[in-house]
């Protein structure tokens, strides 16, 4: 990435926020590579609870990229905004590659803290990704909201800030998008079965 290494990430981020689209173009590959590296570390089952939290990943990537510079609030929302889509790509790619021969991941059981056994729903990331593609055809903005909230870990307020839409609207779109996605994924599963 000649030329980019001389620009610290926080500077590119600031330039992009000031309206310079070129800096985003230079920023994306840097962020993508870093996110993938960090995600890969976590996917190697290194955490005791075998979980991967996107917010933590993005934060870690940010710290690595900016050499430990603290993240200010504005930068944070926008950086997470950039990462949401990259995170989706990385995780879905990973899930597709590792997916078992069987199409459906099925139900996963988990113990809650009291160790009482309860059935929990699980989401097949590949199916979710397919459904998101369908949703984007109906309303690209709703698809983006899901990306930011789910893959980026952004709060309603942060999503509102990134997209420039009121929190109330974000909330409504988020709820209806989830209902639609849930319905779509169940429909595809039924059809497959």
């Amino acid at each position: 990435m000649p030329g980019t290494t001389t620009h610290p990430v926080s500077e590119l981020l600031a330039q992009w926020r000031a309206g310079d689209e070129e800096s985003l173009r230079r920023l994306l590959p840097l962020v993508y590579n870093e996110l993938r590296r960090v995600a890969h570390n976590h996917l190697r089952r290194e955490r005791p609870d075998h979980t991967l939290q996107t917010t933590a990943l993005v934060h870690e990537a940010y710290l690595c990229l900016t050499k430990q510079q603290a993240m200010d609030f504005e930068n944070r929302a926008h950086f997470f905004g950039i990462c949401a889509n990259l995170m989706r790509q990385i995780l879905v790619q990973y899930a597709r590659r590792h997916k078992a021969a069987k199409r459906n991941a099925g139900c996963v059981m988990a113990l809650d803290e009291n160790l009482a056994l309860r059935e929990k729903q699980s989401v097949d990331l590949v199916a979710l990704d397919d459904a998101l593609h369908e949703l984007a055809k109906l309303d690209p903005q709703q698809c983006r909201i899901v990306e930011l909230r789910f893959f980026g870990g952004l709060s309603i307020e942060e999503t509102s800030r990134v997209l420039g839409i009121s929190p109330a609207t974000i909330k409504r779109h988020w709820t209806t998008a989830r209902i639609w996605l849930h319905d779509e994924i169940s429909r595809v599963n039924r059809d497959d079965a």
Partner: protein
């Protein structure tokens, strides 16, 4: 569906959802009256909306796990049975032998050290080879993508923890389970295998009443190695916010102290489990794990006979003997223990003779199966509990530091050594941690002096935080075993009393400064505080210390902070010894500078001690320019002794740049500002000192004294009253001609001090208020003392002046000038 159709569906759906469920059908009726297909779509989505809204996509935590249906060699993964800090357990089917098994996959990070992994494998194999009915049978073990896993028999039943959730276990069953556990332990101990992490979660009671001990050897894999290692600090326990840490309640004292364990460690844990089965209460259970560990070291649990009435008297005695603090006084072998318990059951009755009550718990499967090579898929767990927890955390995190923590107090770290003479060590660590955090300019950190008010307090964290006006509180403990140190620190959110973070750090004494920096840095990063590059550097740069010298330094610091004349003398000796031991111990020089300065005027002639204070502080700064305390001491010397105003200003500002939360530096800078006639700025500095040191009243005392000297007597009285400084109240009242008030205040003040310096000032107040005989009586006493020790001549001169004896006043003033009194 077209985008336009979806938009209509979506809008009606969103509006319907804003209504109560019973009002929705009518609303949809009205909204879709002209469009049956719209209505059909909305109704369909509404019907499934609860499921979608309950947790679907709510958390962005992904679980990395094995996919059901995955074929792993001879085993087919069927489903996840459970997961926790130690990994995941899957149910699987062994197609070759046609049996069901459990597969436990452990975190890969545990196996990075091949030696540890090998030791674990040896031990797990040894345990597997035991083939004892009371130990979980392990069939196979291996690694998958670096993650160790074991395949074992699959059991039906529940853990003892689950049984205990319903309360105490009937005595008969306690004996039955106890005998089984003791037999399992006996078999393992005879092969030299210790469990090290025995607890109700690791004991499984099968459907037919058989007890199985789980996870032999695992503790060794997961336990912290740092007590043995030197070098990098090891993260041993980390909890989610809001969760109580691990299994401290079953650790034996020797484990708490040194991490050392032998088979008698298991016997202690077994005692704690017996206690809990009988009483339904944990033997050692406090709100924080630090307190729990302290209780393990120093307290005995409430006698069982007080909690349970009908109990064979021998049983509490057995429990008590298991729980002896000293391993030598416990049962020495598990078979002795099994024997003692068996003797209690009816004529040595065995398990099958003691019919158990039918359990109503749902069956649970646990563990068991084989050679696993799995396909990993990412699945997303939609547990409302986890989602909630993460949501809390995310909200808190995403708030950045806007709504977060801007101020905190480090409460005195608890001395877990059980030895009061080690108090100095815990206090020293508290001071150091406070100073490290104090370096962060974006954070208001309550001073050590004010935080020390909460030593051994009964107040709750929210109460303390309210009194100190802080957002969060750091509390924790220090344990020391020889040269090994462990700090356990927890960050608690004040408003909710919720644990945001907790972690233990281990180091040897040599690396103690790194350790404190690590803790401070972790806290800073946890609360997302903005660090300047310089602050970042200071927190990450530490140096090794000479253990012996550092120890002497900490003792000196402890004495210095006591503040009595004898203690300060003692402190000076200790600092000097530290310096003799290691000529580069910068902190000891800084302490020495501080100690000499503290003596000046009040105990010793400035001419005698100020040059020493200066030399020590200068040397400290040469060795380590980042020591705020040393810069502050040097600032005082330059201001009060050298009369070098620009030099003083430079030192105080440097001290405040290094540690904006150091009250001494604020007070010194205020004094400089007053001296150079900047009263408003000085007042601001005083206010800053107040905010970080609300309790000692030092700033009020200084301020009152300065106001008095500026002849602003009314204000001086007000401020002095707030600080409880009767001396200044007496002097100011006398100056205003309020004799009665002055004498009353002087009467109170005179009982509080023996220092001739203060007594001279109080005597002046008596003289001014007309009580000259009283003043003369005190003067005789003061002059007698002056022959034995130093006294600031200026104050004696003032006293003579108040009595009208000008000749003597001038004589004393000359002495004051010679001594360079300030």
């Amino acid at each position: 569906m077209t985008p336009e159709q979806w938009q209509r569906v979506r809008d009606v759906l969103a509006e319907a959802l804003e209504r109560k469920p019973e009002d929705r059908p009518a609303f949809v009726d009205g909204a879709c009256s002209l469009d049956p297909s719209l209505r059909q779509e909305v109704e369909r989505l509404l019907a499934s909306c609860d499921e979608a809204r309950s947790g679907f996509l709510q958390s962005s935590t992904f679980r990395v796990g094995l996919t059901p249906g995955a074929q792993l060699g001879d085993y087919e993964v069927q489903r996840l049975l459970g997961s926790g800090g130690m990994g995941e357990v899957y149910r699987a089917r062994d197609s070759r032998l046609g049996r069901e098994v459990a597969i436990k996959v452990l975190p890969a990070i545990l196996s990075h050290d091949p030696d540890r992994l090998r030791r674990f494998e040896q031990e797990a194999r040894a345990a597997a080879a035991l083939n004892h009915p009371n130990i979980l049978g392990v069939y196979q073990l291996g690694t998958y993508e670096g993650a160790p896993y074991l395949v074992s028999e699959l059991l039906e039943g529940s853990t003892l923890r689950e049984l205990l959730l319903r309360g105490a276990v009937p005595v008969r069953k306690v004996i039955d389970y106890g005998v089984q556990i003791a037999r399992g332990l006996t078999a393992a101990h005879e092969k030299g295998i210790t469990h090290r992490d025995l607890k109700p979660e690791n004991l499984f009671v099968t459907k037919d009443g058989r007890v199985k001990i789980l996870d032999f050897g695992l503790a060794k894999l997961t336990q912290r190695p740092a007590m043995l290692d030197h070098g990098a600090p090891t993260l041993s326990v980390q909890t989610e916010p809001g969760m109580v840490m691990g299994t401290a309640g079953y650790m034996a004292p020797e484990q708490v102290r040194t991490s050392a364990a032998d088979h008698r460690t298991d016997i202690f844990a077994f005692g704690a489990i017996l206690y809990e089965m009988l009483s339904g209460k944990r033997a050692f259970h406090k709100p924080t794990s630090a307190e729990t560990m302290a209780a393990i070291l120093n307290e005995d649990p409430a006698p069982i006979s007080q909690i349970v009435r009908t109990i064979p008297p021998a049983l509490p005695r057995i429990v008590q003997r298991c729980l002896e603090k000293n391993p030598e006084q416990r049962f020495q072998t598990a078979s002795d223990l099994a024997f003692a318990l068996e003797a209690l059951s009816d004529s040595g009755a065995t398990r099958s003779d003691l019919p158990g009550e039918k359990t109503s718990l749902p069956w649970r499967w646990i563990f068991g199966s084989a050679m696993a090579l799995a396909v990993i898929a990412i699945t997303f767990i939609l547990s409302p509990e986890t989602a909630g927890r993460w949501r809390d955390r995310l909200q808190w995190r995403s708030a950045g530091n806007k709504a977060g923590v801007h101020s905190l107090a480090v409460l005195p770290l608890q001395n877990l050594s059980g030895d009061p003479s080690q108090e100095y060590f815990a206090d020293g660590m508290t001071e150091q941690l406070t100073a490290d955090l104090g370096q962060i300019s974006a954070l208001r950190v309550i001073s050590r002096t004010s935080a020390m008010h909460y030593k051994n307090t009964n107040k709750t964290v929210p109460e303390i935080a309210r009194e100190l006006n802080v957002d969060a509180v750091v509390e924790g403990s220090v344990e020391r075993a020889g040269d090994q140190i462990r700090i356990t620190a927890q960050l608690i959110e004040a408003s909710t009393d919720r644990h945001l973070w907790a972690r233990s750090y281990d180091r040897d004494l040599r690396g103690v400064l790194f350790l404190q920096g690590d803790v401070a840095q972790a806290i800073a990063s946890e609360i997302k505080i903005n660090l300047t590059p310089q602050e970042q550097e200071h927190l990450t740069t530490a140096r090794q210390v000479n253990p012996q010298a550092h120890e002497l330094y900490l003792r000196g610091l402890f004495d210095l902070r006591k503040g009595t004349p004898e203690a300060i003398d003692e402190a000076i000796k200790e600092f000097q010894q530290a310096i003799t031991t290691d000529r580069n111990e910068a902190l000891a020089y800084a302490g020495l500078g501080n100690a000499y300065y503290d003596q000046s005027t009040i105990l010793k002639a400035p001419l005698e001690v100020m040059p020493k204070a200066k030399a020590a502080s200068v040397r400290a700064i040469e060795l380590d320019d980042s020591l705020a305390e040393a810069h502050a001491s040097l600032g005082y010397v330059k201001l009060l002794f050298d009369w070098d105003w620009p030099g003083a200003k430079h030192e105080f500002r440097r001290a405040l740049e290094l540690n904006p939360n150091l009250p001494r530096a604020h007070l010194g800078y205020a004094l400089y500002l007053l001296t150079t006639r900047h009263p408003d700025e000085a007042s601001e500095e005083f206010n800053r000192a107040d905010a970080i040191d609300p309790f000692t009243g030092q700033s009020h005392m200084d301020r009152a004294w300065l106001l008095f000297n500026a002849s602003r007597f009314e204000e001086a009285i007000q401020t002095a009253t707030r600080a409880g400084d009767d001396r200044v109240v007496a002097l100011s009242s006398a100056e205003l001609g309020r004799s009665e008030q002055a004498i009353a205040a002087a009467d109170r003040a005179v009982t509080k001090t023996k220092n001739p310096l203060w007594l001279a000032q109080i005597a002046s107040a008596y003289a001014l208020a007309g009580s000259k005989d009283k003043a003369r009586g005190m003067l005789i006493n003061i002059e007698a003392q002056a022959r034995e020790r130093y006294i600031c001549g200026f104050n004696v001169a003032c006293l003579y002046a108040s009595l009208g004896d000008h000749e003597q006043a001038f004589t004393w003033l000359e002495k004051a000038y010679r001594d360079r009194s300030d």
